[in-house]
């Protein structure tokens, strides 16, 4: 079963919810609507064998709408195949349902995503920060968060 077969089954099951399918360097990416992300992930895991959530992260497209893209890297241990699922999240409503009920590993990955990118995961069992201190203000991986830190002038080089 190639990734195309999985994509076709996904389209047949969820129809309009599957927005675009693209391929780059042999990797398949499927963009879906965020509303049914849990149902889609559960379907991918149970019916299509993508039993391993390799990674979960968010990308900040500052200046575009919707601003954030949540990325799920899936792996099928049976046939050794990867699939990437993406769901767009708007800045005004930067939240998406948790998939930690589908793969337990999503728990920490979503905590990291919240910590560094500020995406809220609905119904998350443990919605705390993970890498930064509990009282940290801001989400450093956002593009509008300066690399040198919030309270410092940018480094101008030694000659300035």
């Amino acid at each position: 079963m190639s990734a195309q077969v999985a994509v076709d089954k996904l389209k047949a099951q969820f129809g309009e919810t599957v927005l675009t399918v693209s391929e780059f360097r042999g990797e398949t990416t499927v963009v879906v609507k965020k509303d049914e992300i849990v149902a889609i992930c559960a379907f991918l895991k149970k019916e299509l064998g993508y039993n391993f959530l390799t990674d979960l992260c968010a990308i900040d497209y500052l200046g575009q709408a919707p601003r954030f893209m949540i990325v799920y890297q899936l792996y099928n241990i049976g046939i050794h195949q990867r699939l990437r699922i993406k769901a767009a999240v708007d800045e005004s409503d930067a939240r998406i349902d948790t998939v930690s009920c589908v793969w337990a590993t999503a728990n920490w990955l979503e905590r990291e995503c919240y910590d560094l990118m500020g995406i809220v995961f609905n119904n998350h069992p443990d919605p705390r920060r993970i890498l930064l201190a509990a009282d940290w203000v801001g989400h450093p991986l956002r593009k509008d968060y300066p690399v040198q830190g919030p309270d410092r002038e940018p480094y101008q080089g030694r000659l300035q």
Binding site: F24, E27, C57, R84, A104, T105, V147
Partner: protein, 392 residues
Amino acid sequence: MANFETMTINMGPQHPSTHGVLQLVLELDGEIVVKATPHVGFLHRGVEKLSEHRTYHQVLPLTDRLDYLAPMHNNLGYVLAVEKLLGLTDAIPERAQVVRVMLAELTRIKSHLVWLACHALDIGAMTVFIYCFREREHIMNFYEKISGARMTSNYFRVGGLSADLPDGIEQEIRQFIDDMPGHIATYEGLLTGNKIWQKRIQGVGVISAEDAIDLGVTGPSLRGSGVDWDLRRDQPYSGYENYDFEVAVSDGCDTWARYHARLKEMRESCKIIRQALDKLKPGPILADAPKICLPPKKDVVNSIEGLIHHFKIVTEGFKPEPGEVYVGVENPKGEVGFYIVSDGSPRPYRMKIRSASFVNLQALPKMCEGSLIADVVAVIGTLDIVLGEIDR
């Protein structure tokens, strides 16, 4: 009001068995762990954020500092991801591929030696520690001769290698891997039949294959639960499909099984290195892509093209076309993955590092809840975590 039923204690971040700065908050009922809560992030340096502000060549030294016990594997994962992004994967010369595999496997032995040394030391077997570090020193010396650094090698480059192997190193490595199986037998002689060692790790830190997959555990920690999955064989990169080796799988689901899986992996690594040495032929070490690969120093000082390419690459970097790739490699700890999003600029728009130790650590509460507090030490050892990689 204080709870007198259970007692909560901090284990770490300054605790010798936590292999760095891991803090575990343990809720204890006598000697039994009721709940274990890991706290990580003490070493967070923002590698992903920093990488968005550096050119692709400049990101490479940051990757050394993730899993600092296996720096070559992080380099390898990163350069493979960038090469895939550039569409350069098939252009890597044979010699560079073979050297990469050889050094990756030497690194695996090196990392597993630290695992065995510290794991045994935590449990009280001091001698093994000294022996493992004796052998590790040889690999450190190889590192120093090859890359100039003992820890942060930064040796691989996008497109190949930074320099060719020094003269005579092949014989030294061959001598080392001829000796290594005997050393592994020594460790086994010290540990496997040792009653204390057996009592401390048999049936400890049990995790079923289903739970391990659900929690995202990878690498030898997963193969110790009987899951036959190794990226080197199942999604081969850097020419691993041309090597003959077995995937070390062990069925016990406990610390004992993972101990055997890792020992076998070290032996298999020796086999791969031997095959790599046999395959090693003289040839170019960099892809023929002058707009991407930094030219050799002699070209920079002797030819105007070399000088211009060097100047352009150093000042501007190269610009991959917009797109996104994910490449996972089999690190000694598990799957380390680099997900790079390019927007066509000379810097990664977003780079997410899938860290094996971070995800594996998530399984720790499952593996030690309900067992003795002394077993927590064994479980930390058997997960083989590196905090530099967890905190990034």
